[in-house]
């Protein structure tokens, strides 16, 4: 798998985006969440909860036009979501903190 998330569970099992829907990942067993992009890798571990997210785009009504614009892995710090973004077309990396405590 060139791009996408990869999870390592506490029992050593490795799960990948190409094989599994994120919803099916047993979240309480994650010891590492990684984002892969053409040989680059970003690793997260030791966090209380993780998430993955995508930015996509689509031309109205044309399913074939669907494309991923950005992949995101991240973790929670209480009500804050710490996001690691990687742009799909350039591999450019950025970080973002989303605060869900006050909305």
């Amino acid at each position: 798998m060139r791009r996408g998330w990869e999870v390592e569970l506490s029992n050593g099992v490795i799960l990948r985006e190409s094989d599994l829907d994120w919803k099916k990942v047993p979240k309480n067993q994650i010891v590492r969440l990684s984002l892969l992009y053409d040989g680059r890798i970003w690793n997260l571990s030791g966090k209380e909860a993780y998430f993955v997210k995508y930015r996509a785009s689509v031309v109205p009504g044309i399913a074939e036009s669907f494309r991923v614009e950005r992949r995101t892995i991240g973790f929670y710090e209480g009500a804050k979501k710490i996001c690691y973004h990687v742009e799909e077309s350039t591999g450019k990396f950025s970080m973002e903190v989303i605060d869900n405590s006050g909305d």
Binding site: K27, F51, Y54, P60, G61, N100
Partner: protein, 539 residues
Amino acid sequence: MAAITRWVQYAITASGIANDGRGNGCVGTRGYSIATADIGDTIDIGPTTNLLHLSIDGGAGTYITLYSGTGLDPRFVARDITEKIHQEAEDSFGGDAQWAQAICTWENTTITGTITDRNGFVIRSGTLGSSSSVTVATSGTNSAHTVLGFASKSEAGGAELPDGKGAYTFTGTVDIGGSYYGFFDEVYKVVACNGSQGTNNIGTVTKGGSNTYGGTMTKGGIFNWAGNITYVISINTDNGTTMGNGTGNVPRMNWTGSGGGADSQSDWVELLYPDYWYYVGKHGLMVKFTDAVFNTVNPAWTIPCYKPDYVEGTNATAAIGTAKYMWSSDRGDDCQTAVATVSGGYTALGTRGLTIQFTGGAGSDLGAGDCYYVICSAPRPSDYNITSLNYGNVTVSTESDLKSVMFEVESGAVSIDTVKFSLQSDGSFSHHDAGNSDTYFRFGTVGPGNTNTGSTSPRGKEWWPNLLASDIDSDSPPSYLYATEDNLSVVATADAGEPVGDCPLKGMTSDPMWLNIKLGASETGANSTINYRLYFDYN
């Protein structure tokens, strides 16, 4: 993983409808059918499982054909069922409210008994009162009942009076005025009370000392019962600490309800989605949570709810003109402050355009706890899975007709946000952004995610029928829209697109968008095409 999306078109003239429960004066409860089998939180519907046979109010049953797909979001399926029922109302039942105002929801059911999976489908009749009922057939060719969880079900007819009431003080009539400018189905509950016991009869929420949840828990609904009840919510994170991770991987809640009525539930309710309303108890209290980390804790929150004692001052009854009432909807439209009735006049009901009037002769006082329901149906789509918009033959220097569309995710995600609409290509048009009698590509939006921004309250409008080109031909929206753009530019990134609201309550939906073109004076040619592109975040 790819999210599966679709576009839905609405007639510009489509409009919502508010109803009093099929001539029942807004009094009573709705009969229902609740699916109680454990089906998880994704639904597979195909050619052999797409027929749902329904009978409403004991009348002739009929089949509705459901949308097919794999891993469908249950909120999406619930709205599909509702829209198919409403279509059936028009096709086979002459628009009768029993069908036209029937609603299917995906909700946590609070009926008595042990249920393994408390989140399920509920179909309610559009009728209020004892003649109200819904029956889902559990046999038949290509039946959808099993995949929807109706293999085991709980069905009950409506009651003449809600909330355990034996009688109402008010003997007059209730009329609904105005127009419903909501975009999704909604049920308003109106309770005669003056709010002296707390907003919507719900008191101050206390967070448990060991509760580390740092997000925002919001209370909603309106409480109405014969006694006070204090609910204590507990949270369990054995399966997961955050929402949005699918069944089996999310936090759960249950509660005890002590005081004036036993209303506890030991079955766990999975908190599947952030910012989604969950019922607590049977008497009107709802809660929702922003996306944050939960911990196992009891008590997590303590919520005192009070029976309505007064309608004015410390009077349990009062005449129209001095008596007050409060309202709340199942989508979280809340009054916050009690409204005084007006003798001979309509007063506010919700923020989406409705009003209510109480009429009665001498001695027709309102009594604390008198309760009324108003059932609202959304504008109905005209076409699903559209692949293009045809503006028709447009004359130079004139505006085309408007088209209205909504974007949604049907599967492959649990939430969307940061929706942006853009013009990807102006195609063969040669006078767009050219500074020479230009062609304009116009855009406007309002909806559940971003309601109208006008200076006059209330500002809860989510839809506006019969929009004109002149409503979106400037960058200053009219009072009934959220935003307009007189001329979309060709852009290549999400950040440059036009923001569009989103809503998690009836699926993963964008707000409706209105589009048209004004053809520049020098444009020539025929069959010109443009491409729009929509950006969205999902997980």
